[in-house]
């Protein structure tokens, strides 16, 4: 009853306000200020020294990283939308091609066709948003829905300056979508699909529907020692350390920054 009363009162107030405005000739935009709320939030990172202690970056590197970060996200934090948008600029998406100067470091696709290694030559409708979401969740260590500069830099520090084991741990964390300590086939399938999505539709040879699934099977065959359908962190670390390719590729990150 009181709820109805409240609603009636509110409606009445609105009607009276409307007539008042009608008579005096005020526009509806004039009375909007009271509903305005400050929606911008500003986040400042901790001091440079603290970050230097926490991460393995030098002072200069931190400065460069922060400048780039702040330029793109003046409010100091990245939310998921921003993150996806930033990441999508590195991958051809929706027909837009990145400038050739943008990607000096291109991953040769597994299919190995020369024309695809230069992104500007072909515009592929790819979708990197799913993978970006997974990345976001991996960077957002405190799970508050936003990535601050500290999260950003600590993640980068692990990947670029950490030991091989650190890196493998971080990768495992990325794959483990629900953070329960083991990777199931479904999780791996999601990850694989997201990676294949980034390739887009126009690939050589043509992308098959079951390509991710086959890849996942292959992965599990390699990683899952005890064949229990999940890959735990120990299995993962063990199998990766045995694989030469993976170990070598992990060392690529030393020279990124």
């Amino acid at each position: 009853m009181s709820h109805c009363q409240q609603r009636c009162k509110r409606q009445l107030g609105r009607v009276i306000r409307f007539f008042y405005q009608f008579v005096t000739g005020t526009l509806s935009q004039d009375s909007v200020e009271d509903e305005f709320e400050l929606s911008t939030v500003c986040h400042r990172p901790e001091g440079l020294e603290q970050l230097q202690e926490q991460t393995k970056f030098t002072r200069k590197e931190l400065q460069v990283l922060y400048r780039g970060f702040k330029n793109e996200c003046p409010s100091g934090i990245v939310n998921e939308e921003n993150f996806k948008q930033i990441y999508s600029q590195f991958f051809p998406q929706g027909g837009e091609c990145p400038s050739p100067s943008l990607s000096p470091y291109t991953w040769v696709p597994l299919q190995g066709r020369g024309s695809h290694s230069t992104p500007h030559a072909v515009c592929l409708p790819a979708d990197s948003s799913t993978y970006a979401t997974f990345l976001f969740n991996a960077f957002d260590t405190d799970h508050d829905g936003s990535v601050s500069f500290e999260d950003f830099v600590s993640g980068l520090s692990t990947i670029l300056r950490g030991t091989i084991d650190d890196r493998l741990n971080w990768a495992f964390n990325l794959y483990d979508l629900n953070k329960d300590g083991c990777i199931t086939k479904e999780e791996m399938l999601d990850i694989m699909k997201s990676i294949y999505d980034m390739m887009g539709k126009y690939t050589y040879p043509a992308m098959r529907e079951d390509a991710p699934r086959e890849h996942v099977e292959n992965f599990f065959q390699k990683m899952d020692r005890n064949k229990d359908g999940v890959v735990t962190i120990e299995e993962f670390l063990e199998s990766c350390q045995k694989d030469e390719n993976i170990m070598r590729s992990m060392q690529l990150f030393d020279s990124v920054i």
Partner: protein, 664 residues
């Protein structure tokens, strides 16, 4: 398993296809500013691909000389901007992002110096910083465009916030330039190769081109006025006739009016036929509005002639006479304002249509309401809804004749609402039409003003040009006389001369001098050239001399005597003939092939050839060299004269004509 795409051995067997074409350098259009800064992050994020990959990864590119990011200073006309090098390198297709900026590097101050506008540079640097290019409204559009072109930035990347404004200004500017070009083309002075038909058309379109056109223009205008006035006066009652009947003037003086009408129609017909003949595209001319008005104006007369005084058709005939009033529209050829009004109405057609439509709606609504409101009252004039239309229209336009008034209270209330709403409905579209008219009218005025300004500007440019050419001739005269003298006293004059002329000027003059030497011709100014032409045409007989020449020749002869006292150089001995010529550039040189033997000893080979060729060509032309005015010490004159006298064939032969090379 062999078919699996990720089987590395398979993929390695596939030969890498060569790149289809050289990479298209897309200008960095869609690159966001911070993206390059986030590249390390993207590369780090690739860690997720490593464990699932089955193939070895390619080697990462290494930075050969890993330069720490440094601040670079950009000095733009004194204002220093500083930014990181990587900021500029975000857009490597531009001047600042590529190695092109090294051309502007100043070693002494270790900064990049650009001699450009610092205000615009601010916007351009902001583009590098934020990835968005803005267009400042206070900036001139062409200046901005030039700066963008200089820095190698395409205007298409202007951000959405400023793009509309930029495009509008650019379009305005382009229209203005096109306008200028059009008016230039229209007013090209004398196009001698116009056919008669084209001249006639031009005369019709622009009456100011010739007096005949102007006369024609005024005559037609006068006759249009006469015709309109006769139409009006025809109907005025003109006194009585026996029989107590008031007759309009048209019937009383029928013959006079008929003659007047005939005369007018004759003129109009002739004009129409002439225009039809002269029109570049007759079909288009026939379809044009003005020609239709012309036809409509004169048709009733001819139809009246053709038709007899048949009673049946006389009614129709009378109606046709109404069309004679269209003659007044012919005035629009004579009045710019009328044309603008017509054009405005045409361009506001949609607003007018809206006005009409809304009015019609309101009329119908109110007429219905009034009819039903007044239905009850007795002896009401509102007999039907269409009858109420008249009341509604008169009320809405606030005329209020008073022939129909509502009597019931309801009728009066609705009547007042009707008149209030009428004011609103009519007042709304009118400002749009007014603003359109004002815009078009001012555009026209601006066009006229621009044309006038352009004339003044061209005149100024012409004056400046002749000034500079005079400067060249003046300095040439001074400088070369000094050279020819090789007198010790000439150094002061040289210094004096160099004081007067800057380095650039002297270099420019040297350039022109080289051209003269190359072509063996000389620059002279226009008046001299005219004189030359005139005098050469007067020189028909070898013996005759124009009085001016004789006086000059006398001067020469008097100087010649002086010459003999001095030990002058042999004519042409060490002085190339061209210099001689240039010394005399202010003199009128008349070419005459003389029978004098050529002085072979002291003539340069150039002269010889020319002489041989020239001999047969010009017979009967007299060579006279005379110095008209030389503001130099008289000692010079004998020098000049000496070369003039016996050496006359020499210089003359080098100059078959004194060629006027166009103004500098």
């Amino acid at each position: 398993m062999q078919k699996l795409r990720w089987n590395c051995s398979d993929s390695q067997q596939v030969p890498a296809a060569p790149p289809a074409s050289p990479p298209v350098t897309r200008p960095g259009l869609v690159m966001a500013a911070g993206v390059a800064a986030w590249l390390p992050f993207a590369r780090a994020a690739a860690i997720g691909w490593m464990p699932v990959a089955n193939c070895p990864m390619p080697l990462a590119p290494t930075e050969k000389n890993k330069r720490q990011d440094e601040l670079i200073i950009l000095n733009v006309s004194g204002r220093r901007f500083q930014t990181w090098r990587t900021t500029l390198e975000r857009y490597p297709d531009t001047l600042l992002g590529s190695t092109e900026k090294e051309f502007f590097f100043n070693e002494d101050t270790k900064e990049y110096f650009f001699d450009r506008d610092p205000e615009v540079f601010r916007c351009i640097l902001n583009f590098y910083r934020t990835g968005k290019l803005h267009y400042p409204r206070y900036e001139c559009i062409s200046a901005y465009d030039e700066e963008l072109a200089f820095y190698g930035i395409l205007p298409e990347i202007i951000g959405d916030c400023c793009y509309e404004e930029y495009k509008d200004r650019k379009r305005e500017n382009a229209e203005r330039l096109m306008d200028d070009n059009d008016s230039e083309n229209n007013q090209e002075g004398s196009m001698p190769s116009l056919s008669f038909r084209q001249t006639m058309w031009r005369a019709f379109e622009n009456p100011h081109t010739s007096t005949l056109a102007l006369v024609f223009y005024y005559v037609t205008g006068f006759f249009i006025a006469v015709s309109v006035i006769t139409n009006v006066v025809e109907t005025v009652p003109c006194g009585t006739v026996p029989g107590n009947k008031e007759l309009p003037c048209g019937e009383r003086y029928a013959v006079a009016f008929f003659c007047l009408d005939t005369a007018c129609v004759m003129i109009f017909t002739v004009e129409y036929l002439l225009r039809l003949f002269a029109a570049p595209s007759r079909y288009r001319f026939i379809r044009s509005v003005m020609s239709i008005i012309d036809v409509v104006a004169i048709m009733p007369y001819y139809i009246g002639l053709v038709m007899t005084n048949n009673e049946d058709v006389s009614g129709a005939f009378v109606t046709l006479r109404v069309f004679r009033v269209f003659r007044i529209f012919k005035f629009s050829r004579h009045s710019q304002g009328l044309r603008i009004l017509g054009y405005t109405l045409k361009s506001c057609a949609s607003e007018l249509g809206f006005l009409l439509f809304s009015l019609t709606m309101a009329i119908i609504i109110f007429a219905t309401v009034m009819f039903y409101a007044e239905k009850g009252s007795s002896a009401s004039k509102f007999t039907s809804i269409p009858a109420s239309f008249w009341y509604t229209i008169v009320t809405m336009t606030t005329l209020g004749y008073g022939d129909m008034v509502p009597k019931t209270i309801a009728g009066k209330i609705f009547g007042s609402i009707c008149s209030l709403s009428g004011v609103l409905v009519i007042a709304l579209p009118v400002p749009v039409i007014v603003s359109n008219f004002s815009r078009i009218y001012h555009q026209n005025q601006r066009a006229d003003k621009r044309r006038a300004q352009k004339k003044a500007r061209l005149a100024r440019i012409r004056v400046a040009k002749t000034g500079s050419s005079n400067a060249y001739l003046h300095s040439k005269r001074n400088g070369l006389l000094n050279e020819a003298l090789e007198l010790p006293g000439s150094t002061e004059e040289e210094q004096h001369m160099t004081k007067g002329t800057s380095l650039i000027e002297s270099q420019h003059h040297h350039l022109l001098h080289c051209l003269e030497k190359t072509t063996n011709h000389e620059f002279i100014d226009e008046q001299l050239f005219e004189q030359n032409c005139m005098e050469s045409s007067m020189q028909n007989y070898p013996s005759s001399r124009s009085p001016s020449l004789s006086s000059q020749a006398g001067l020469g002869s008097s100087c010649c005597s002086r010459r003999h006292k001095k030990s002058a150089h042999l004519p042409n001995c060490s002085v190339p003939a061209t210099r001689l010529r240039s010394m005399q550039e202010l003199s009128t040189i008349h070419i005459q092939c003389s029978e004098q033997p050529s002085l072979t000893t002291s003539r340069s080979s150039l002269n010889m050839k020319a002489d041989d060729g020239l001999r047969p060509n010009c017979k009967g032309a007299q060579i006279t060299t005379a110095i008209i005015s030389i503001p130099t010490p008289p000692a010079l004159t004998p020098e000049g004269e000496s070369r003039a006298g016996p050496g006359s064939p020499g210089p003359a032969t080098n100059v078959p004509n004194v060629v006027k090379v166009s103004a500098l």
